[in-house]
């Protein structure tokens, strides 16, 4: 698997190839914790927030919300304790970048969490990590202990008045706990059902206190921004999407991996065909899901020769989304009916059961997909699937419902031929190679 920066100097990946990249010593030898020192000794919390605002850093967890703006929502005058929570639940199918950030450079994340805590006036930060990533929790625990021993975590950090504890926390196998309010319930020791918003976590989050939840990659960008300035970060990307972004590339490419690209990288075709080595086995590109399983699927025709710019605006213009940057590539052997069936089974399994449209809707969708897969498809089933999606999208309690509907809606719309084939009477179906 490849891990490399293309079209920019490695920023998030800068230390990935160093020996002992996860040790405190290596991190400090390469400038680690200097951004924290700079923030604590030369900047006010508001200065830090302003710098992050200037950087145009947007949340890398999926929603792309401007990070500085989110931080400024935390009430300054609240007498309650405040919390920073790192979202390391990374469970969106196709996404594995946070895993490598934590595995290779855990101190970068700890430094980002500490700077965020300083900006927000928090004295406690938790890193909520998916349960399957136990080895990363061990790596993080070890890094936190190292940092504590060096006076970088705990009381009076770097000899200043700023004190902050950093703790890891484990999830236990539930995709929904990546949704920030479900995550907070889970961190409070409850079932991971989402909460009503508003109030937003910035106002009433963990234990009812002001809380900022940020993705691993978002927090990892913060030390660089503080060290080099928000303007410098922004100028690496575009006006509206600052900096660089990690793309987790999987599926039918020669070189899957984690790629760091500047925001606004031109263009997606070159990325797939050259940077990722193209499609193996002499096959042709058929489809791409560019931002994790929840975003709209794209046809090859909407990528090849289309100069699709890889940033928030560019992907929306091309009919999809950046999402988590989980970039799944499919060649022309793939039956999009089958790939979509695979994803709806995921959403059914992960629906938390709290609200009826999502819980029942995903169940019905799976039943319909299974029946069609058995060869019992009917021509009117395409409309049935769309109606089922329509009863979930926009009618569910949290965005997981929409996330379940979008892949199906876009697949039926953009790959009608793959669905039609299954909706004809069995005798008329031409044999299509199944996925895998």
């Amino acid at each position: 698997m490849r891990i490399e920066a293309i079209g920019c100097e490695p920023l998030l990946l800068a230390r990935f190839n160093l020996e002992n990249s996860r040790s405190l010593e290596t991190y400090r030898r390469h400038g680690g914790y200097e951004a924290l020192r700079k923030a604590l000794t030369t900047m006010s919390p508001d200065d830090v927030i302003n710098e992050v605002k200037k950087s145009a850093l947007r949340g890398r967890g999926g929603a792309g919300f401007p990070t500085g703006t989110k931080w400024s929502f935390v009430p300054k005058d609240s007498p309650k304790p405040k919390y920073v929570v790192c979202n390391a639940d990374e469970s969106e199918p196709g996404t594995f970048k946070d895993r490598y950030l934590m595995e290779r450079d855990p101190h970068m994340l700890i430094e980002g969490m500490l700077i965020a805590a300083y900006a927000l006036g928090a004295r406690t930060a938790y890193c909520y990590t998916r349960g399957e990533y136990k080895y990363l929790i061990d790596i993080m625990d070890q890094a936190i202990e190292e940092a504590r021993a060096a006076g970088l975590v705990g009381e009076r950090i770097l000899g200043t008045d700023f004190s902050c504890e950093v703790y890891t926390h484990t999830g236990a196998g539930a995709y929904i706990c990546g949704e920030e309010t479900a995550l907070l319930n889970s961190l409070e020791g409850l079932r991971g059902h989402p909460r009503m918003k508003p109030p937003f976590p910035a106002v009433a989050g963990l234990y009812g206190c002001p809380t900022v939840v940020n993705n691993v990659e978002t927090l990892c960008a913060v030390p660089w921004i503080i060290m080099h300035g928000g303007d410098a970060y922004r100028s690496l990307g575009t006006e509206k999407s600052g900096g660089t972004k990690l793309w987790s590339v999987s599926g039918h490419v020669k070189y899957p991996g984690v790629y760091e690209l500047p925001m606004g990288y031109d263009d997606m075709e070159k990325f797939i065909m050259e940077d990722c080595g193209g499609i193996p086995n002499g096959r042709k590109l058929k489809a791409v899901i560019p931002g994790g399983s929840s975003v709209y699927i794209m046809r090859a025709e909407d990528i090849i020769g289309k100069d699709v710019r890889m940033d928030y605006e560019g992907l929306v213009a091309a009919g999809s989304m950046v999402g988590s940057g989980g970039f799944i590539v499919m060649d022309d052997t793939v039956d999009i009916f089958e790939s979509t069936k695979n994803l709806i089974e995921f959403y059914k399994h992960e629906s938390c059961g709290w609200c009826t449209p999502c819980r029942e809707g995903t169940d019905w969708l799976v039943k319909a997909f299974k029946r069609i897969a058995r060869g019992e498809g009917r021509p009117e089933d395409a409309q049935l699937l769309l109606d089922l999606c329509d009863n979930i999208e926009g009618k569910s309690f949290c965005p997981l419902g929409d996330a379940a509907a979008w892949p199906i809606q876009s697949a039926i719309k953009r790959f009608p031929e793959d669905f039609k084939r299954h909706l004809l009477p069995l005798a008329e179906q031409e044999r299509v190679p199944a996925v895998a």
Binding site: S91, F96, A172, R191, I328
Partner: protein, 168 residues
């Protein structure tokens, strides 16, 4: 919910001093004890193989919760095993990127070799085979975990090597 029979309720008085200290360290991380419930469930599961009624009762006592409080959490999370699993829990990813690269073949191969289908445990209690959702190994697909250990870029031959290397 009816109270549990007294002997189950009291079956686990405490774990070893080391394990009790480990549990205390988790509780100390949070202003509210209940937050430590998942880390403690994993510890109880590690010590007893799975989370049984006695384990639930122990956690309830340890965190000042009702037994129902603990059950409702335990039944939500797929990594909490409420039934015994094999010594080696083989969890193969079924999600899209792994499916594209042959996850089904991997499970077929394991099934044939161990004589069990996904969801089953070998009669000797050594292996349980499960399908799981995306493990965050999509770039190194197909992938599986045995317990907490990752195995990636799987082929049937690689699977054989891995299974051969596991201790009795």
């Amino acid at each position: 919910m009816n109270p549990l029979p007294k002997e189950i309720e009291e079956e686990i008085q405490s774990f070893s001093p080391e394990v009790e200290a480990e549990i205390d360290r988790h509780i100390a991380k949070y202003p509210v004890k209940r937050s430590a419930i998942l880390p403690i469930m994993f510890i109880v599961q590690r010590e007893r193989g799975y989370l049984d009624a006695a384990g639930i009762a122990y956690i309830a006592r340890r965190l000042d919760l009702t037994i129902t409080d603990v059950w409702e959490v335990a039944t939500f999370y797929t990594m909490i095993n409420l039934k015994p699993v094999g010594k080696y829990h083989i969890q193969v990813c079924r999600t899209l990127s792994c499916q594209l690269l042959g996850a089904e073949k991997i499970v077929e191969h394991i099934s044939k070799r161990l004589g069990i289908k996904p969801g089953e445990t070998t009669p000797d209690g050594r292996f349980t085979l499960s399908w799981v959702e995306c493990l965050g190994s999509c770039g190194t697909a197909p992938a599986m975990q045995i317990g907490f250990d990752y195995y990636e870029n799987l082929t049937p031959e690689r699977v054989d090597e891995i299974l051969d290397s596991l201790k009795e």
